[in-house]
Amino acid sequence: MTSIRDIEREDTDILILGSGGAGLFAALHAQQTAPEGTRITMAVKGLIGKCGCTRMVQGGYNVALGGGDTVERHFMDTIQGGKWLPNQDMAWRLCEQAVIRIRELENEIGCFFDRNPDGSLHQKAFAGQTADRTVHKGDLTGIEIISRLMEHVLARPIRKLQEHRAIGLIPTRDGSALAAVLFIDMRTGRFRLVRAKCVMMGTGGGPTMYKYHTPSGDKTMDGLAMALRIGLPLRDMEMVQFHPTGLLAGDDTRMTGTVLEEGLRGAGGQLLNARGDRFMFDYDRQGERATRDVVSRGIYAEMRKNNDPDQVGMFISMSHLGPENVRRKFAGMVKRCADSGFDLAGGKVEVVPTAHYFMGGVVVDPDTRTAIEGLYVAGEDAGGAHGSNRLGGNGVANSTVYGGIAGDVMGMDMRSMGALRDPDEQVLAAEIERACHPLRRKPGHIQSLRHKLQEAMWEDVGVMRTGPGLQRGQRRVAEIRGELMETGVDPSNLAFNLTWHDWLNMASLTEISAVIARAGELRENSRGAHYREDFPEPGEMETSYFTVARQKGDELELEREDVRFTIVRPGETILPEGEPETLVAAQ
Amino acid sequence: MLNIGLYMAQRLSAMVMAPLVLGHIAVMIYAVQGGLSTAEILDRTQGSVWWFLFYGSFVLAVAAHAAIGLRVILHEMTGLRGRWLEVVTCGIGMLLLIMGGRAVLAVTFA
C-alpha cells in the first residue's frame, strides 16, 4: 500500500485550492500583483471552472451602482439580513469592493450582464433588499461569470492540477506557518505534496450533509475539516442556510434537492399543501414572498403537520399565472423540470427546503489572512461576512471580492516571504494514514452511511432545532462516524476511485456535522438561519455573540465571542437622515 | 486541414464552376437528343475561342476545387498530413489540370 515514500513532491510559490469565484479570482489577481517569475498553481477537486457552486449561481450578484442605491445601503441590508452578527469590517469591504469587482468582471474579464433598454446594467431586488441591486445574466449568472474567469485562467501560465483533492494542510514543525498541502491525484490515486509560500483555500464549504441540498457534488466541507484539524478557529458554524424550494423527486435521484429558483415565488408562485391550500400567510404577512429562512420554516412546519408518509413535501404551483406565460418567463426552469419529468408551467411540483449555503467558516481578517502564516481563506470557506444569514446575491459577490483580495494580498506578501518552508513530516504521515484508513478495512456500503448522516442532520440539526434534538444529532453523527471508521474501501485499484473519495467526503462531512450540531446547541437564541424552537427569540442585539469552534487535541472546544460593532450599532444606521427605508417599489 | 486561403480557393472555384456546370448540362441535354457523335461535338466546339474559355476555366476551377476537396477527405480519412499532404494535393491538381487541358485542347483547337 501507499507509503510516505510513494508521494510525489513539487514546489510552487502561490497555491490556490478550488476554482470557484474565490479561486479563479485569486489566481488572476495573484498573477497581476506578484513579482515577475512567481509560480502559481491551481489545484481543484474537479475540472477547472466546472465544479463548485459559483458556476451554479442563478439569481445574481449584489452591488450598489447608484440610482439611489449606495454602498452604505448595501452594507446596512447585509448587517440587518445577518441579524447583527456579521463581522462589520468584512461586510463593509464586501459591499465596497463589489463595485470594483463588477466593473472588472464586465470590462476586463468580459462578462456580459443583462441590460436595461438604454444599455445600462439591469438590476433587480432579491428578498431582503431595499434596492434593486442584483446584477444578473438571465438566471444563469454563474455560468457567465465562471466561464469567462476560467478562460483567463486557462490562457495564463498557471500550473493546473485538476482532479486533485486536497486532503491535508501541512504546517511547519513548530506549527507557526503553513508549509504544504497534501493532495490525492484522483486520476492516478497517488499522493502529491505541494509546498508553497502562500496558500489560498477556496474550497467553498458546502452543506451537503443534509438530506436535501443544492451544492455541487464535489463540495463536502473538505476545506473546513482541514482547517479544523490544524487548529484554526471556525465561526458561525451553526448557520446553515436553507433554500425553501428544492425539488423533491425521491431518494434515488440526484435531482432531489436542486433549487427551483427564488424568482418563481417573486413572480407570484404559490406554495400549496397536500390539500391544495396556500399556507404561507399563516406564517408570515408577506406569504410566499417572505425571506428564505421564513419560507423554509413555513414549509418545514407544514410538512411536520402532515403525517402521510407518501406525501413528504409541499407543492409550488405556477399555473394560475398562465402556463404559456410561465413557460416564457422561466424557460430554463420549466425545461429543467420537464427534463426531470415535472410540469412546472401547467402542474405543480413537489418541493422541500434544501440546504443551500454555509455562512460559517474559518475566522479571517478582511485581508483574508488566517491565524496561521501562509494560509489565506476566501469565499464560502471564510466565515464572518454574512453573520447568520446570507442575502441572495451576496454569495458570489463575497467569493469574487475576497478571492481577488486574497490574490492581491498574496501577491504582495510574496515580496517579503523567505524560502519555502519544510513540512512537518509527522503531520504528513498522519494525514496519509488518515486517507489510507479505509483501504485496510473490509469494504462496505458508504452510500448508506451518507444517507444515514443526511437523515440525522435533516431531522435533528435542520431547519428547526431544539436542545435535545441537537444532542441527539451529535450522538447520531458520532455513531455514523464510528461506523465509517469501520467501513473500508477495496484498494485494488485506486485510480479515479470514486468510492474512496466518497469515504473521504464522509470523513469531512462527519467532522463538520459534529461542529454544526455543537455550535447549534451553544447558540441559545434564534437568528437568521438558526432557529431554536426552545429559544425562539433573537436575544439582545446589543450583546450579540457569535460561536467559535476549535479542535484542541482530540477535543472540540466551543465558545461564544462578542460581536464588535465597529461601524454601526444595533438600532442605528449609517444611512443619511431621511433616507427612505426601501427603494424597492412595492410589488 | 484547410486554412482560409485554401477555403477561399475552394469556394471561389465552386462559384466559378456553378454556372459552367449548369451550362454544360444544358448543352448535354440538348445534345443527347438524337444521339451523340464525335463529329457533332467537335463541330460545335472546334475552333471556338468561347468554348475554349468555357471549358478551360472549368478545368482550372475543377483542378483547384477537387484537389482541395480530396485533400480534406484524405486528411480526415487517412490522417495524412504535413509535406505529403501538400505533395498529394498538388499532384491531384496537376493531374486534373493536364488531363483536363488535353481534353479541352482536343475538343477545341486540335
Partner: protein
Amino acid sequence: MSDRSKLLEVSVWRGMGDEGAYETFQVPARDNQTVLDVVSWIQQSADPSLTYRYACRVGMCGSCAMMVNGVPRWTCRTHVKRVLRDGALQIGPLRNLPVIKDLAADMDPFFDKWIRAGGVHRPSRSRDDPIQQVPPDDPGRVEANKGIECINCSVCYAACDTVAGNPDYLGPAALQRAWTLYNDAKVEDRQAVLDSVSGAGGCHNCHSQGSCTRFCPNELDPLSAIAGLKRASARSFFRRGE
C-alpha cells in the same frame, strides 16, 4: 410508485485509456431517474470501482456528458425514460476525447482548443472605467447572446465527425465562443479573433455536419456561429485584398 422489481439492462464502458470493454449491469428502474442516477447507482451499489464525472447535477457545469446509446448527452438531465431502448441502455465515455478511466474523459484537448481559438476576452476597458453601455437590441449583442449560454460540456465536440477526422480542428464549441467574442462590442481587437480561427484547424474545416447543433443540450447553434465566422473571415479576406 413504479414497479419496484423492474430492472434496466445497462452496459457500461470499463477500462483505462484505449483498452476496455462494455460490462453489463442490472439496475433497478425508478420513476425519477436520470442516466447519471443509473451510473451513480452502479458505482454506489454494484461496482464501487466505476469512474464517472459530475458536479452540479442540474445541467450547469457540463461535467457529466457521456455517450448514451451512441449519442452524446448530458446525463444529469437526461431522464432514462427518454432514452431507454427495449429496457436497455449503453453508456460510454464521451467520444473524440482521450479516456482517463471508464466513463471519465480527459477534457483538456477541448479546453486547449477553446483557448487556441482565441476564446478569451480582449478587454477594451479596465476596472477603473465605467461599464460600457450596450443596448440589449444591438445587433452584435443579439448575435453574441445566442451562443453565450454554452456550458462547455463538449457534447457538440463529441458529436462532430470533423473533430474525429481532423485532430487540429478546433471544434464547434470553441468556434462558437470565438463568434460571440467577434460580435461583442466590448472586445478590443476583433480582427485578432478572426485570425485565430483562420489557421489550419480553424472554422474553415467545418463541413456543416450540424451534429453540434443537433445535440447541443442547451439548444445552441454552433453550426450557424461557425457559418458566421466563415462569412466574416471571407469578408475580411477580400477587404484586406490578399
